[in-house]
Symmetry: C2
């Protein structure tokens, strides 16, 4: 049913849906190819081996261009934890990904282990069956466990190989992918003819749109080994020691000029940074110059990390990009190809200009500590320098900005976005003035004493403000955010990573140069850096060891997405602003109309604009309801009716789809409530705890409302639009937070600070107090 | 190769490892059974259908006892998103779980869809091949897509069924599980003989240790339907409308007296709580009395939610517990059986006494708002009531505690843990006094004004303290934590969920009754509740909509595990306390020895005990090093040498394995540093930012150290043991935090508070300020 491959390249076909188990079929001095597919649908590709130009990738973001891909599966990936049988779910998922790559037009080759494990399981079963026949007894679990360990691995491999291939075939056929088995032994690489045949056959298979599955012929051959010094015959290249599938996959990848080799095992990657020894997630780029420290050992498989790194560096030296990753991770192949930082990326090209984001983040931490050691006036002077540079260097800023604008216009960016992107001499001047204000108000930020207590005689405690540490600010188009945020970080002595939008890349780069220049003036140039636009946000969000707080500045979609994605780093911001204005029974109609107009119409896109108007039911029959509706109509506001309002009106506005909606435009919902308590219930049920307003002349009612409504901002007789850091007098606004810990509501620089406790004594010990030799005073002292 | 099952119960065997595709084999008026397995290893089980007693589970925690299990896979689970072909990875994972259940001794039956999708893919392929043959052209993707849609589903089912079974067989054989195919049609249920045969055969298969795979025979039969009113022949029971596999699985589960039916589709569960309409995670127990609201529609499959709920309630009424879950979720079956809250759990037994934790949490939020509305003296009075009750009801508390102690002694709990668990009249008295102190110091907690600003004429802003919301406190053995934490929550007007250890269950229950009684006195009984010990912590950690802050009180393992697991709820606490004492060049030797002794030996298990002693290198040759070592040896402290110290000593202490280790016992590490900056670097590199100490007589050095070390607590010439809420004079201690946002270091009640902004005006609008009609004042006012 299966034909042997003719090494000259002709392919024997088999028109049967499922491959079934067959007598073992292998050759000793040669490699054998079993072709398994069931159709004649051969899609000719244009690619011919040898003619194509090999790419080398200097950066993970280029991996998506990988055309020819070798995926090596370690036995730990394929084998179940108990060592017997295949980890089917994992294998199926990998096959699914390889099939997807194949259908995307990538040429895939798999190097697989696992035959031994598979065969062991089969043999165990046979053994148990014969036991059971002999004993006419059902075997105990104990026997079952023992059976596996007494088996010869070579016999197991012999049994397992064909069954393993049948499994691959059955699975790949699900995705209409045809596969071929290529078994290799050591002499195949010494004998020039078989060697040529091997690579020729692989190319032929690839050109026939078939995925070759390569394995060492464990059943007949001892582990292969060619010394590193051995020149591989016919190539002039030095060989790699093929002692396992790691080196085999490296050799194959190099010989068939693969772009990318993915080696999947049971380790996350390579540790080469001592501070990460405590299990930090690996997402590293390894360049050939670096010294590798091995922090983790592979649990299963003979190779271990040494063999993988040797194989990887060998392949890398031959122009193949390599990623070593954990095959247990979901969707590892697709994730790696998408450029995400999974596993260790090996590249021979020194990464061009951009430093790894881990290093940038570590530097930001160190830099923050430098900033913290400075005096407040030194920090302020750096901000002043930046403010001055914005004016001095305005030509080069505007030049860079012009480039961004040109690109943006070409790509058809919409007018409002272009406006946000555009800088001008005027904007820079305003920006510079704002920065000087931040500088002037920064003297009390860091080191401010919040509490002083005399704990005992000569034992003085104080709590002082200190920076949080390293912030990550993610901002969209507006490049003017960059110097603003940088100044806030300097003012609060925080380290800062900035991730700007791609559309403002030139402007951001130019502005960052000025930030660096100003930092250099105080020796803290490392504390603030721009993260490359290529960095994936999800990778940054996983850096909880390096980043203490994330501040997204942009659309509520951005904020929401980041809040959702970030698992261990707190995010300062608000996902939605569903603000209510409640017109109480005792509301003054004129104030009510004035406040509602401002809350909805002053700037409908703002998060502090009103989305739902709650009306005391008494107003439904009075003139206020009509007047409000007329005013809103006059302002062009589209009204939606809440369920209660809808039932009370014969011809009312269209019903609101939900009461929990941020329109963000000239639209709002009106709902009727029976009293203030109902209004509060409504706000708690449908609001977003941002800003809620009561309009009433009854001070007792107002007091109750202000006390009971559980939102960041609660207002009486004023527009919701006042919820804003500048309007609150907090100076520069970091954002508005609806979180319930740390800062809440409009956040100024204070939100970027935490505290530390400083205790000074002479020789105080806890034991002295326990023993009554010293006494507690706990006397609160004035702050200065 | 495959034998038809003889309905009298004899089994035909097949001794071949892999099943291969076969001509379609089905019967129209009867159901057919294809037996696929490859061994005679039949493990006779004791179970005989009809004799066993059926269990009904009232609680998810009992699902682990499920003995007979029906797993129903919807087509959405098995089918790829594009509708063609199987989602192989998903299917393999489900089969892996079923196989595991099987090997655990559970009897599993699968009801599967997917034949149509599978057949469609096969047919598409055939169609494309014939196209390709005719046109001698590789088909374009366009044709490929079209081909699928023109196929007859019945034909597709005919093709797919056998191939699907082959796939199941190939996969199950990986786990040494034998399966049999059972195809059913409508008449099988009307005809008494075939109906009996069917259930008899299923029982027979199960007793033969074979997993039956049941499907409707889509190829020959229209969708089955038996009206709900129809009495199923021979049973006297009313039938369920078998219009799809949902009802089929319910009928089978009921007829074969299955314990548990798991219905897997592409929805998470059932929404029956309007406030959760915005995509809250479903983890619900559905009892037959509840009204169901459908919030989500199944994307694929004919059934949809109605059919699932009908089927589930039908089965539930017949004593089968049902879980509807999302089959896309990883390890859903194992997770459900482990008792985790995945999907919707249907049970006919009203859940006994314990309210669902969602409802408890919602009540805590409402209760918190009640507490918040109270006056400070009302809150204080509730705490006083609790303090009094601890004395009044001490007999019943101690009685409950005695039960816990008895159980604990039986189970061999160790002495120190027994001590922590044990209460006494003395302990209760101390506790009561402590509570009264919390009450007396609580007046300023909530509503304290932190900032007052006159924004403009008649526009007054203030920032006031408010409770965070709902806290989850997870505590281990000590039952005295319960009233303490409850008092802190009352004092700060927070809602509170308490999760205590199982070993203190009786004591906690008794104490919680007193807490409820004291809360009742102010009408806030819902604000604090004990979460059942059965609740999984991981389920609680996923309740970010209900819980605002988690406070683990217990071992550092507990804290670490919770910090790691919690993805969206902040955790207040510290995972480790790696505290350093640095003996500067200018340290006073007597002070140094005194402080080091206290820091290490006063209470070595505390998080604020010293773990590493950093010694200025000048001391290596002086007497201080020897004296310190002698003192430590005298105190029984085992010393480990850091790398630098090790190289400097010929016969030194054994080397430390790592410098980042919390010994938590009479052990410590000593390392040499060249100067204070090196000490600071060491602390930053290996410390946990908890508490670090400098001992020096040089005030300038001390100042630099206190300024530069980036830890929650930094001390000069005092023992690290002072890092403690009580010692700091913060009153009751909530915990010590090493987080960098919100509270840091020892945390008192303040850490349980956040703020809200209250703005009062007359009719102020933002537009008036923009238009210059009003002017900003931003005048800071005194706080009172």
């Amino acid at each position: 049913m299966c034909n042997l491959f003719n090494l000259s390249g002709k392919v024997g076909m088999l028109k049967n849906g499922f491959f079934r188990s067959n007598p073992m079929l292998y050759s000793a001095r040669n490699f054998s190819v079993k072709c398994m597919h069931y159709g004649t649908n051969v899609d000719k590709r244009t690619l011919v081996s040898g003619e194509r130009k090999q790419r080398t990738f200097s950066d993970r973001s280029q991996l998506k261009y990988a055309r020819r891909l070798v995926v090596k599966l370690g036995s730990a990936v394929i084998t179940r934890e108990d060592g017997n049988g295949l980890a089917l779910g994992r294998l199926a998922s990998i096959i699914e990904q390889v099939a997807e790559c194949h259908h995307e037009g990538r040429e895939c080759i798999m190097v697989t282990s696992g035959a031994v494990a598979f065969g062991r399981q089969k043999l165990t079963q046979e053994l148990l069956m014969s036991l059971s026949m002999r004993e006419t007894l059902s075997p105990s679990d104990h026997t079952r466990e023992d059976a596996g360990s007494i088996l010869d691995p070579r016999a197991a491999a012999a049994v397992g190989q064909s069954e393993l291939m049948a499994m691959y075939d059955a699975m790949f056929s699900q995705y209409n992918v045809k596969i071929a088995q290529v078994l290799v032994t050591k002499p195949d690489f010494y004998n020039e003819e078989t060697r040529k045949n091997l690579f020729c056959t692989l190319s032929e298979l690839i050109s026939l749109n078939i995925v070759p599955i390569v394995n060492t012929n464990d059943a007949v051959s001892p582990p292969m080994y060619i010394h590193d010094d051995t020149v591989v015959p016919g190539t002039g290249k030095k060989g790699i020691g093929i002692k396992d599938n790691d080196s085999l996959s490296a050799l194959l990848a190099a010989e068939i000029q693969s772009d990318l080799l993915i080696m999947m095992s049971d380790v996350d990657g390579i540790y080469n940074k001592p501070p990460w020894e405590d299990g930090a997630r690996m997402m590293h780029t390894y360049s050939s110059k670096e010294q590798v420290q091995f922090g983790q050992k592979s649990k299963v498989g003979t190779g271990g990390m040494d063999s993988k790194v040797n194989a990887a560096t060998w392949a890398m030296a031959r122009g193949v990009s390599v990623v070593i990753c954990n095959g247990m991770q979901e969707k590892a192949i697709k994730t790696i190809i998408s450029g995400r930082k999974v596993g260790t990326f090996f590249t021979d090209c020194p990464s061009n200009s951009t430093t790894s984001v881990d290093i940038i983040a570590e530097n930001a931490r160190t830099g923050s500590r430098v900033l913290q050691k400075l005096t407040p006036s030194e920090r302020a002077s750096a901000i002043h320098t930046l403010a001055d540079l914005l004016i001095e260097k305005k030509e080069q800023i505007l030049e860079a900005n012009a480039k961004d604008l040109e690109e943006a216009t070409k790509s058809g960016l919409e007018k409002p976005l272009l406006n946000r992107l555009s800088l001008s001499a005027g904007k820079l001047k305003t920006l510079s003035i704002g920065l000087k204000q931040i500088a002037d108000s920064s003297y009390e930020n860091v080191g401010r004493v919040l509490r002083r207590t005399k704990l005992a005689e000569n034992l003085m405690l104080k709590q002082v403000t200190v920076p949080i540490g390293v912030l990550l600010v993610i901002f969209e188009s507006r490049p003017d955010s960059l110097p603003q945020v940088a100044a806030l970080a300097m003012a609060s002595a925080n380290g800062l990573l900035l991730k700007g939008g791609k559309e403002a890349a030139f402007s951001n780069k130019a502005l960052m140069e000025l930030v660096k220049e100003s930092l250099q003036s105080v020796g803290a140039q490392d504390s603030i850096s721009l993260v490359s636009t290529r960095e994936e946000i999800s990778d940054l969000l996983a850096m909880e060891k390096h980043i203490d707080l994330i501040i997204p500045r942009g659309s509520s979609d951005l904020v929401r997405s980041i809040q959702k994605q970030s698992q261990h780093i707190p995010v300062l911001g608000h996902a939605e602003g569903i603000c209510h204005v409640y017109l109480d029974k005792d509301a003054d109609p004129i104030k009510a109309i004035k406040i509602v107009r401002d809350a909805k119409c002053d700037y409908p896109a703002a998060c502090n604009a009103m989305e739902t108007l709650l009306l005391h039911e008494d107003h439904l029959n009075g003139s206020l309801f009509t007047e409000i509706c007329n005013m809103l109509k006059h302002e062009g506001v589209k009204i939606h009716a809440g369920p209660k309002l809808a039932t009370q009106l014969t011809f009312g506005p269209p019903p609101a789809k939900t009461m929990r909606h941020e329109y963000g435009s000239l639209e709002c919902c009106i709902e009727i409530v029976s009293d203030m308590d109902a209004a509060i219930d409504h706000i708690h049920k449908f609001g977003s705890s941002h800003t809620d307003v009561i309009v009433t002349e009854n001070d007792a009612t107002a007091k109750q409302f202000l006390n009971a409504v559980d939102s960041a901002c609660v207002f009486h007789n004023v527009s919701s639009r006042f919820a804003d850091g500048f309007r609150f007098g907090l100076g520069a606004e970091v954002g508005i937070s609806t979180a319930r810990i740390h800062a809440r509501g409009p956040v100024g620089v204070e939100g970027l600070l935490t505290t530390k406790w400083i205790l000074e004594g002479t020789d105080h010990t806890a034991a002295e107090f326990n023993e009554g030799k010293r006494n507690w005073l706990h006397e609160n002292l004035p702050l200065n």
